[in-house]
């Protein structure tokens, strides 16, 4: 059973909040999936700077899962350099960063006014021939490597994958060696950092990133070194 039937009160709350703030966005349920469709305004200082036609397909396990976002107006080219897949899906954020941009427990409205607004604001800026205003992650493994390099402040792929191993594990034991590889046990070294990261990054996201980095291996680093982010 999907979330809107499991929790009708949450559905009504999300719908009321979003439709009150964005009168041109509408909730529709089709084949047991909740969609939010319509014209998405980019607001600034009470003015509408621009509008994009969008469709959000809310995850069956919303709000735990991220929505699938599509730009339906055909305005943004379906190209990797615009972060739009050939099927029209927009890649708004790296899931591992969700805790910062749209923490679990916050409303769908926060997603729309937060990362989604920033995504389309960035698209409008790029459309004017300007660089991505907030930068961009490289695609695939390169972007994953970049993200964890910034988060963990290391370019050591082995250290990074150990951290991800610990984030993906069901439980973490204090006697395990610390991922910083200084020879100490975790309980005597970075245990608090690991605890904090496990609260932020879901096991599922950590597992996915770990798999991506393991498949890419050292090439993720080499490719990332060659890649100059804006």
């Amino acid at each position: 059973m999907t979330w809107h039937r499991n929790d009708p009160a949450l559905y009504e709350k999300e719908k009321a909040e979003v439709e009150a703030y964005f009168p041109d966005l509408h909730f529709v349920v089709e084949n047991d999936i909740v969609y939010v469709r319509g014209s998405f305004p980019l607001m600034f200082e009470g003015r509408v700077l621009d509008r994009y036609s969008i469709e959000l397909q809310l995850a069956r396990n919303h709000p735990a899962g991220l929505p699938i976002v599509r730009e339906t107006g055909g305005r943004i080219p379906r190209r990797l350099d615009r972060h739009i897949l050939s099927n029209g899906t927009a890649c708004v954020l790296i899931p591992d960063e969700r805790w910062r941009l749209w923490p679990i427990g916050t409303s769908l409205l926060k997603y729309l006014t937060g990362p989604l607004h920033s995504f389309f604001l960035a698209q409008a800026t790029v459309e004017e021939g300007r660089p991505w205003p907030f930068g961009q992650w490289a695609h695939g493994a390169k972007g994953t490597f970049q993200f964890y390099r910034e988060l963990l402040n290391t370019s050591d792929l082995r250290m990074m994958t150990t951290y991800l191993d610990y984030l993906a594990a069901k439980k973490v034991k204090g006697h395990w060696p610390c991922p910083c590889r200084n020879g100490k046990k975790l309980r005597d070294c970075h245990v608090n950092q690991i605890k904090e990261l496990r609260e932020k990054i879901s096991r599922k996201d950590a597992e996915r990133s770990l798999a991506i980095l393991k498949v890419a291996g050292e090439s993720a680093i080499e490719m990332t070194e060659a890649y100059a982010p804006e």
Partner: protein, 300 residues
């Protein structure tokens, strides 16, 4: 930015190069129209050419038409015995593919299929007949008015405007006409600009425009224009009557007041460059207070 730099930007934003989508669409239409006419008059020696702003270099993006002349040789009756026959036969030929609206000497083409029903293609076809074998002067049929025959010379018209040295001022005056919905024929406006700026060719563009409007404001009642192709034959006074002169004077007065009180942008608005810069600036300001969020992409 000086007034002259601003006016140059306005003109640049109104330019229609040969590689622009608008001109490419017009050229495609022109090819279709020419084929339609030639197929309909297979035995006729026709001269089909661009005329109007496309040929004169005075086209503005905001409002443009494509004029195509289709002239029959002086001794050729295959397209019609009389000027009226030539005009009507062209109309019938064009009606195979377009809805044709007679407009004076011209035939305005509009869409007549389901996809383009009533769409104005901004194309005027002007049928006519050369007066003699030199193929310079031509007679046009006039569907309205007392006089049914009009003598004209395309090359004289084109050269008169192209060699006027005030093309930029003409384009700005045309834009002013459009923005102020002034009911003056474009060719008459061009002649007025050339006449009023005859002794101001060495002045800056902004000075030329201010002079043009000052003359219209102060001396429009005395303004007359002559057709360079037929100075004594074609009476253009009806195209510049007292009512129109009064409208021109009022608009010119208002325009000069706008420049005086609010600057040139009050007349022609922000240029595309200025609008783009303003948009980029507001997007930058919006981004400065937005949640920094970087897009990512899993490998496809």
């Amino acid at each position: 930015m000086t007034a002259d730099e601003y006016l140059k930007d306005v003109l640049a934003s109104q330019a229609l190069g040969d590689d622009s989508n608008e001109v490419k669409a017009l050229q495609k239409h022109r090819a279709d129209v020419e084929k339609l006419i030639r197929d309909s008059f297979k035995d006729t020696a026709l001269t089909i050419r661009y005329a109007g702003s496309k040929a004169k270099g005075t086209m503005n993006k905001e409002s443009y038409d494509l004029d195509i002349v289709s002239y029959v040789s002086s001794d050729d009756n295959t397209a019609g015995e009389t000027l009226e026959d030539i005009y009507n036969n062209h109309k019938s030929a064009l009606a195979k593919k377009y809805y044709v609206e007679p407009r004076g000497s011209a035939l305005r083409l509009k869409g007549c299929d389901a996809e383009n029903l009533g769409v104005d293609f901004h194309i005027d076809v002007v049928p006519g007949r050369f007066t003699d074998e030199t193929q310079t002067d031509a007679y046009l049929y006039q569907s309205g008015g007392d006089k049914k025959r009009l003598k004209t010379n395309l090359d004289v018209h084109l050269d008169y405007v192209r060699d006027s040295d005030v093309i930029d001022a003409i384009r700005l005056a045309k834009l002013w006409k459009v923005r102020n919905a002034l009911p003056i024929r474009t060719f008459v406006l061009e002649l007025a600009v050339i006449k009023l700026l005859e002794k101001k060719k060495n002045k800056s563009l902004s000075a030329q425009m201010e002079h043009f409007w000052t003359e219209l404001r102060d001396n429009s009642t005395n303004l007359t224009v002559e057709d360079p192709a037929n100075p004594n034959g074609n009476d253009l006074s009806k195209c510049l009557d007292d009512n129109l002169k009064s409208q021109l004077a009022d608009s010119a007065k208002r325009t000069l007041e706008q420049i005086d009180s609010s600057g040139w942008e009050a007349v022609y608005g922000k240029t595309e460059e200025q609008e783009k810069a303003a948009r980029v600036e507001i997007l930058r300001r919006a981004a400065a207070v937005a949640t920094p969020s970087r897009p990512w992409l899993p490998e496809e």
